[in-house]
């Protein structure tokens, strides 16, 4: 859980930096996107690793949830869970499933299109198309709306997940853990906000 979590946290940072490029430079975004789309190392090594990482994470998450539900057995007639733990920590499966739903939509939206473009329709390479495609997609209010909501759930997931992953691998230290918790909160706010910013940027700068 924690190892795949760390991996996803790292991936997310990389993904965000590429997205942010699209705000500053159409050319740079196109160059990097094209590189990511056609570099064999990325396509045939990193991409399968990422997909495996996500699948491992969500399958383990669901197995964990089922085992843990079984371990309670009979539930309490009255339970004041808010007295001793945060909502985020108790609802990782809910925020996780919301992220999963988004990921499915996201894959249909971008990835399926890429597969179609490259392998089924077998179009020629066009290193200048990416920015336009992204800009066009983010012109749709429904797209942007789903995007924003999904990243709110990701933020909630990471509010607990970031620091939790450190504890899971056995890292808890009087001096450093408070800093890790602060860093986690910062990550959980700034990274999703970054994605939302990019989406809104494209939405608000549509020419029509």
């Amino acid at each position: 859980m924690a190892l795949s979590g760390f991996f996803l946290l790292f991936f997310l940072l990389m993904h965000l930096s590429i997205n942010l490029l699209s705000v500053f430079s159409e050319d740079a975004f196109n160059t990097v996107s094209h590189f990511m789309g056609y570099n064999p190392l990325i396509q045939f090594l990193m991409q399968p690793i990422l997909i495996a990482g996500i699948i491992f994470h969500l399958v383990m998450g669901m197995v964990l949830e089922m085992k843990n539900r079984k371990a309670r057995g009979v539930s309490y007639a009255k339970n004041n869970a808010a007295a001793n733990s945060t909502w985020m920590s108790r609802n990782m499966i809910i925020t996780g499933i919301m992220i999963l739903l988004f990921l499915v939509a996201h894959m249909i939206d971008f990835w399926a299109h890429e597969i179609d473009y490259k392998y089924i329709a077998a179009n020629a390479e066009d290193p200048t198309r990416y920015w336009e495609e992204l800009h066009h997609k983010m012109g749709d209010p429904l797209h942007v709306g789903i995007y924003v909501v999904a990243f709110v759930f990701l933020s909630l997931h990471l509010m607990h997940g970031f620091q939790s992953a450190f504890q899971s691998v056995g890292f808890n230290h009087n001096k450093y853990t408070p800093a890790i918790k602060k860093l986690g909160t910062l990550y959980a706010i700034l990274v999703p906000l970054g994605f939302i910013f990019v989406a809104l940027f494209h939405f608000l700068t549509q020419s029509h």
Binding site: K67, N68, A71, V74, A77, A81, N84, R90, S168
Partner: protein
């Protein structure tokens, strides 16, 4: 301070034995002093029930001073009730108000079956202890004095803090996953921090974690509820230490 007693409505889990179904029953109590402990309040209820010819409510208790870990009870949705750093025998009625409804349930965990009313069978925790929560000491007569081995103060303090766990099971009861990891990690940490505990360190963590899973306790997802509700302030730091010990043992194992 007023001497007027409180009137209370109690909703209590009643269950004849481990095989019957059980349900919540409602009782009225009047004139309860705020100076009473929670268990004394239940004693008053039981006297009332006995006088009325009814079966008294069965609940666990022994020392009634917060050291044995026997008293349990999930009170108004929290292990050991609304106060912090205490067991139920140390909970005072002044935490409640006149006219309150108090819901009282047994610890709920698949590994803690209810035996009667509010009493659960916590022997799963004993079996975890027996799986490795000890050090083997040679009692041949020439045993070395423990004080002859120097131990740094901070490790000694942390080990002592971990050893304060009274095995009450509040951590399990309160955890949304019914995980026993705070308890097990305390029992592992008290030895892992001391030189005497090193000899059997690998087997200890392996065997205790294995038994913990066998008993059907859940897995920790770091909500921190156990630490908040633990009467002895056992720290989550212990769970991280147990995770480290577990990883270390898995990596270093020769088979």
């Amino acid at each position: 301070m007023s001497d007027k007693g409180m009137n209370l409505t109690l909703k209590i889990w009643r269950q004849k034995d481990s095989k019957s179904k059980g349900k919540m029953e409602t009782y009225k109590l009047s004139d309860i002093s705020e100076h009473m402990s929670f268990l004394e309040m239940l004693d008053v209820l039981n006297e009332q029930l006995i006088n009325e010819g009814q079966e008294p409510v069965a609940f666990d208790h022994d020392c009634r001073e917060g050291i044995c870990g026997m008293c349990s009870l999930y009170i108004n949705g929290e292990a050991h009730g609304p106060d912090r750093g205490i067991t139920t025998c140390q909970l005072h009625m002044r935490m409640f108000n006149d006219g309150d409804t108090i819901v009282i349930e047994p610890w709920r965990a698949a590994a803690f079956p209810v035996t009667k009313d509010l009493i659960v069978d916590r022997s799963a925790m004993d079996r975890i202890q027996q799986a490795g929560g000890f050090i083997s000491v040679n009692t041949s007569g020439n045993t070395q004095d423990a004080n002859a081995i120097p131990i740094n103060k901070s490790d000694a303090d942390k080990s002592f803090d971990a050893a304060a766990c009274i095995g009450c099971g509040a951590c399990v009861a309160t955890c949304k996953n019914a995980s026993a990891m705070l308890f097990v990690s305390a029992k592992i940490s008290q030895f892992a921090l001391l030189p005497q505990g090193q000899v059997e360190a690998k087997e200890r963590v392996d065997n205790m974690v294995k038994q913990m899973d066998l008993e059907g306790f859940g897995n920790c997802t770091n909500t921190g509820a156990c630490e908040a509700e633990c009467p002895k302030g056992i720290s989550l730091e212990n769970i991280a230490r147990m995770n480290r010990e577990f990883i270390k043992s898995a990596v270093l194992k020769d088979k």
